[in-house]
Amino acid sequence: MSASATHTSAPASHHYTTLGLDSRKVAIWAFIGSECMLFVSLISTYLIYKGRSIVGPFPHETWTDPATGHVFKPILNIPVTSASTFVLLMSSLFMVLALAAVQNKEKPKHTRGERVLGNSKLWLWMTASAGATFLGFQAFEFTSFVHEGLSIRTNLFGSSFFTLTGFHGAHVTAGVIWLVTLLAIDYRRGLGSKDSLLVDIAALYWHFVDVIWIVIFTLVYLIK
């Protein structure tokens, strides 16, 4: 390919670093690095305040209110959260399949399996649906906690728990919106291999949200 041809076919919005890397991909990795700092600060706060609340409800222990005699059960619902964790893990699988489908859009598909795997709309839709399902689980969890007497103002556990998981939920919400916009582009004009970087960047963000949940699930829900 000649230099002039390269120049004419290159969209004006593409910027490459001297390493030959797209600056948008460098930027998303730098952003993910900064997000690591944000979530570690929230996780640190949760861990430092863990076990220091003087009033319940508590995450893993039963608590009796001395004023009313009301008994509060351990607040965390591990089976429900395990199900939501599984949904988020599967969403990461759907996301890599969406990216692979976009990257291989122009390759001929002979079998039914190849056509299913190459259907980017299907996998983007599945990823967004899984993300929305995870948010549904989180809304259910938050609502049930408030009904059981734990709000963000109740105790230190409530404050740090709702802040940490709420920030994560906000990130998942942003990810779902991002995926829906990609899906809209795919329906409108079709995503091809030329757009693979757009999907790759969204995928990196989505997987990051997933790995953060992997850490939160262990530190907040499973370790007593």
């Binding site: 003087i54 990461s92 692979a100 997987h207």
Partner: protein, 124 residues
């Protein structure tokens, strides 16, 4: 030729000229479905193992419980970052951009726990 090159470097065709740098060639082709579903299966099995460990009272009360969960969580984290985020296959710069802040954040976390973890103040 161009297609295979674009998939190797994850860059659009128009970047072909720039992609012929030695650094850009450090990137390798991403894995396919056969790897992705195995990774998903491993992640699911590890999660099932974590939840199972939580519900075994004798193990949950043992000294090995917390280190085991931390190890399994770290393993899942690494698997997702390496295979789904393609850090195993992508350019070295991306690894630096991710592991650098992660290292700083981890050291900060450990430092904060050492500074404030020993305090036994009950609040709220």
């Amino acid at each position: 030729m161009m297609d295979s090159h674009a998939s190797m470097t994850n860059l659009p065709d128009s970047a072909e000229g720039q992609a012929h740098t030695p650094h850009a060639e450090e990137e390798h082709a991403h894995p396919d479905w056969s790897i992705y579903w195995k990774v998903a299966l491993i992640l699911t099995l590890i999660t099932v193992g974590e939840v199972w460990a939580f519900y075994v009272p004798s193990f949950a009360a043992s000294r090995g419980f917390v280190p085991t969960l931390l190890f399994l969580s770290g393993l899942k984290f690494t698997i997702v970052v390496m295979f789904y985020m393609h850090l195993k296959y992508d350019h070295r710069l991306f690894r630096v951009l991710f592991t650098g802040p992660l290292l700083v954040a981890s050291i900060t976390l450990i430092g904060l726990l050492f500074l404030f973890g020993h305090l036994h103040i009950k609040i709220m």
